[in-house]
Amino acid sequence: MDVGKDLVLEMYRRMYRIRHFEQKIKDLITGGEIPGFAHVSIGEEATAVGVCAALRPTDRITSTHRGHGHLIAKGGDVAKMMAEIYGKRTGYCKGKGGSMHIADFSLGILGANGIVGGGIPIATGSALAARLRKTGDVTACFFGDGAANEGTFHESLNLAAIWKLPVIYVCENNGFGEFTPTSTATSVKDIAVRAKGYDIPGYVVDGNNVLEVYRYASEAAARAREGLGPTLLECKTYRWEGHVVGEQAFVTGSYRTQEEVAQWKARCPIIALEKTVLESGLIKREELEQIANEARAQVEAAVEFARQSPLPQAAEATEDLWVA
């Protein structure tokens, strides 16, 4: 293993934090405690964590409607996230954004985004700002396989290529755009090959292998910082849960088989990392168990914080629109 122990443990910690957080969101929505709807990323933790582990604190990310994992991976505070999803005034966006719009500008998280492909030009502009301000910062742009069919994907990769911008385009191919299999909606088997159309490097990455994602993202980040321009990483992963929590209530029929889901669950990215690190002898099982327990406790504390927090007052609805 060519990654240091501390970093591996941190990756493990963040993956577990995501897993528990998402599981909790799912349970709370199903139980009716959380209003609205949410898209969870169980099974996709390695992509978010592997990419963000390759970033510096001042680097920025843009995220998607399925963004909780990216935010936690970049260091987001799960209590403020949970409070936001509860619609509380202590949430990241004071209850104005909800699950799909969480942002933490102090951590370089420019926001989740409810519009598929909406964040891709924004990440490109963030990279342009880094270039103009000569900060050396990189922007990682998360988007799904569905967004790779949006015009903004094409326009942004072209822009970043001609301007050699420090951006990493991270396509999380989880197999489905809403309820449509990627294979029926996308002209190519590997979205990474679309990089050729913009004369930039593109790689297919095992999105369930956090160490592999980390290696590719580190290389892409180094390339970006050297002024060599953008990279497209297609991280192949899988959405264990539905498009949206609670979809069973309105989706009639099935759009995938139980066998397929079971096959991917057998490739759980967290268990895969556990196996690797235990086999390496670098880390003991007790250390991992302790981390997993801490992550669970942290999420429970976040729920408690959210429950105890006040709802916003009606008068706050007209605040935060303008910079005074």
Partner: protein
């Protein structure tokens, strides 16, 4: 005071603000060459990093302006011709306008969008439309429509300094319009209307390129003893309701001229506001004079028939003082 054209006023505002603030930069299609002249000479002065030609890729570069703004820059983003804005609508409406609010006040979006709008003869429907009514209902955007060189310079400078997204509509037919522009750091506040001509008989509200037409009508009618007060709102969002209501309180009659299509026009919004807040002041129904509800046609006589002209404006004014 110096004489300046509308286009020279744009260049002066851009040059002064780019000199003043190193985080400003221009991006858009052909901004280095400047097909219509509004950014001519800036590439030579500020270089390719700050006067940045983009591909024909509106969603991409408008979104890049949004991202750059959130990462500490102050972009001046040119959408070459106003109806091209539809290609970038998501980035303006869903992103630029909403991100600050959705993030609970975290995001800062000091972006100036500049765009050439309006009918100037023979450009047809996809290059002549007055598109600002589509943006009026979007909370989080400021919208200004300068009608002459002085307002252009002052409003564009204010737009660039504003820490919120501002869309500046520049009329395609006004480029050579010339007038005195105050020297020095001349700023016109966003959200303040301008009384272009005082009068006691009727308030004639006119937007953008309709202002010179309204002034011509007012001048002509003065010879018949009708005193028309002409008001240019200058900003459509926020709208200076106070100045408009004060004028209505004096004249008790109002006609609103707008180059946009009548249905859902800025004139409609202004009329609704005036009727709601100034109903007791009115001695006659408010009249709107706007473009006919068809796409702007190509052929000259057809275009002239669609866009409000002085004859239609005068007829509307006469109808309310009758």
């Amino acid at each position: 005071m110096a004489q300046m054209t509308y286009l020279q006023a744009i260049r002066a505002a851009l040059t002064e603000e780019m000199d003043r603030d190193p985080t400003t930069f221009i991006l858009g299609e052909d901004v280095a060459l400047s097909a219509f002249g509004s950014t001519r000479g800036l590439f030579e002065r500020f270089g390719a990093e700050r006067v940045r030609d983009t591909p024909i890729s509106e969603a991409g570069f408008v979104g890049a302006a949004v991202g750059a703004a959130m990462a500490g820059m102050r972009p001046i983003c040119e959408i070459e011709i106003a109806p091209f804005i539809y290609c970038a609508f998501d980035q303006i409406v869903n992103q630029a306008a909403k991100l600050r609010y959705m993030s609970g006040g975290q995001a800062r979006l000091p972006i100036t969008f500049r765009t050439l709008y309006g009918a100037a003869g023979g450009a047809a429907a996809q290059h002549s439309e007055t598109v600002y009514p589509h943006l009026l209902p979007v909370p989080g955007l400021k919208i200004v429509v300068p009608s002459g060189p002085a307002d252009m310079k002052g409003l564009l400078k204010s737009a660039i300094r504003d820490d919120n997204p501002v869309v500046v509509f520049e009329h395609a037919a006004l480029g050579r319009l010339r007038e005195e522009v105050p020297d020095g750091d001349y700023l016109v506040p966003i959200g303040k209307a301008s009384v272009k001509r005082e009068g006691k008989d009727v308030t004639l509200v006119a937007i953008g390129a309709m202002v010179p037409r309204a002034m011509a009508v007012a001048g002509r009618m003065a010879k018949d003893g009708v005193e028309v007060e002409v008001i240019d709102p200058r900003s459509l969002a926020p709208l200076d309701e106070e100045t408009l209501l004060n004028s209505l309180g004096k004249t008790n009659r109002m006609v609103i001229v707008d180059e946009a299509h009548l249905h859902g026009s800025a004139a409609s919004e202004i009329a609704a506001t005036m009727a709601e807040k100034g109903f007791d002041l009115l001695d006659a129904p408010i009249r709107r004079v706007a473009a006919l509800d068809v796409p702007i046609p190509f052929s000259r006589p057809l275009e002239l028939a669609v866009i409000p002209d002085e004859q239609r404006i005068e007829a509307a004014v006469r109808s309310v003082i009758g």
